[in-house]
């Protein structure tokens, strides 16, 4: 092993300490996770049993939990959310890899899904399709922030009812 000068050795020591400090400060940035509620609206047409809802994760690793059905409108008339029980819906998570798409049915409704895709698709299926319906659901997204304190909601995590951007 080639010997190095005392000055060089001191410089390397100092640099190693600085690197260790930097890594330690960087790795603890997300030691507390952010947790935000996101609201999504799903519209079903007459006779339509399945509708997709998307979660924009924008590359971040998120855990999404569908919490509850907030409101249901059938044919323009408010209906008690309990009229469409959560068990009436099946949420399906689909992951696209190359040309193939794999879908997993999430039962129960509030199954946890952690993905780092740019967008996650969840297919909601209803059993009673006699009337058009607008359903408002509440989901929660949990993920780490960044080192500048940006929470997922400020980073664009949201639910939407159209396809990927």
């Amino acid at each position: 092993m080639t010997d190095i000068s005392p000055i060089g050795y001191r410089i390397f020591s100092f640099l190693a300490v600085a690197l260790g400090g930097y890594l330690s400060l960087a790795t603890t940035c997300g030691s507390s996770e952010f947790h935000v509620d996101v609201i999504g609206h799903v519209s079903f047409g007459r006779g339509q049993t399945t509708q997709s809802i998307w979660v924009d994760a924008e590359g971040r690793e998120l855990t999404v939990i569908f919490e509850e059905v907030l409101s249901v409108e059938r044919d323009g008339h408010p209906t008690a959310p309990t009229d469409i029980a959560q068990n009436d819906f099946y949420a399906t998570q689909c992951t696209t890899s190359g040309l193939s798409t794999t879908c997993t049915t999430l039962i129960p409704w509030n199954a946890q899904v952690a993905r780092s895709n740019s967008a996650m698709r969840f297919d909601l299926t209803r059993n009673d399709a006699t009337l058009p319906a607008n359903v408002t659901i509440r989901a929660s997204a949990t993920g780490g922030g960044d080192c500048l304190g940006n929470a997922p909601e400020r980073l664009g995590v949201r639910l939407r009812d159209s396809g990927p951007p």
């Binding site: 010997d3 100092f14 190693a16 960087a26 790795t27 603890t28 030691s31 780490g144």
Partner: protein, 169 residues
């Protein structure tokens, strides 16, 4: 050991903060950097979650010892770390690690401090601010705490060897 090697070893032992040049510390830092910035994104899983904890818990006590030595040297005081300094660093590491991993409020408090720190850095050198690094409050991470034995064991050997070299010199 030849006189030249002994002199070289002694000189090295006398560089404040050179704990972080030990292969164990360098290896742990490389592992932490690789895991946080590459592996966690490519292979998000249980083991990548634990790997950073393992790497961090191994080198962080020695980082504290190094800071102690550099501070003492800046104050022109005797700075060679002894067993008390090493043990204090290990105890502080265990305490902070456990608090952050078990208590949400401790984790939040730490995050607030770090956000202020990195926001200040971003004003002058935004390129230094790291990307998002995911950490979770997970009590099972405490399983890595027994690994603190490694920096203690190697650290006490290092302190003993340094003392012998100084006495011999």
């Amino acid at each position: 050991m030849t006189p030249h090697n002994q002199d070289s070893s002694l000189r090295r032992a006398r560089a404040a903060g050179d704990w972080m040049l030990h292969p164990m510390a360098l290896g742990a830092m490389a592992t932490l950097a690789l895991n946080d910035h590459v592996l966690k994104a490519a292979y998000p899983s249980w083991w990548t979650g634990k790997l950073s904890d393992v790497a961090g818990i191994i080198f962080f006590p020695w980082l504290l010892v190094s800071f102690w030595e550099l501070s003492r040297q800046a104050l022109r005081r005797p700075w060679q770390a002894n067993r008390v300094v090493l043990l204090s660093s290990i105890a502080l590491t265990a305490l902070v690690f456990a608090a952050v991993k078990v208590n949400d409020q401790a984790g939040t408090a730490l995050r607030v401090v770090l956000v202020h720190f990195w926001s200040s850095i971003a004003t002058y050198a935004p390129w230094l601010v790291p990307g998002r690094v995911r950490h979770t409050v997970d009590p099972t991470d405490l399983l890595v705490l027994p690994l603190l034995w490694l920096p203690w064991w190697l650290g006490t050997r290092r302190i003993a060897r340094t003392s012998r070299l100084i006495q011999a010199g």
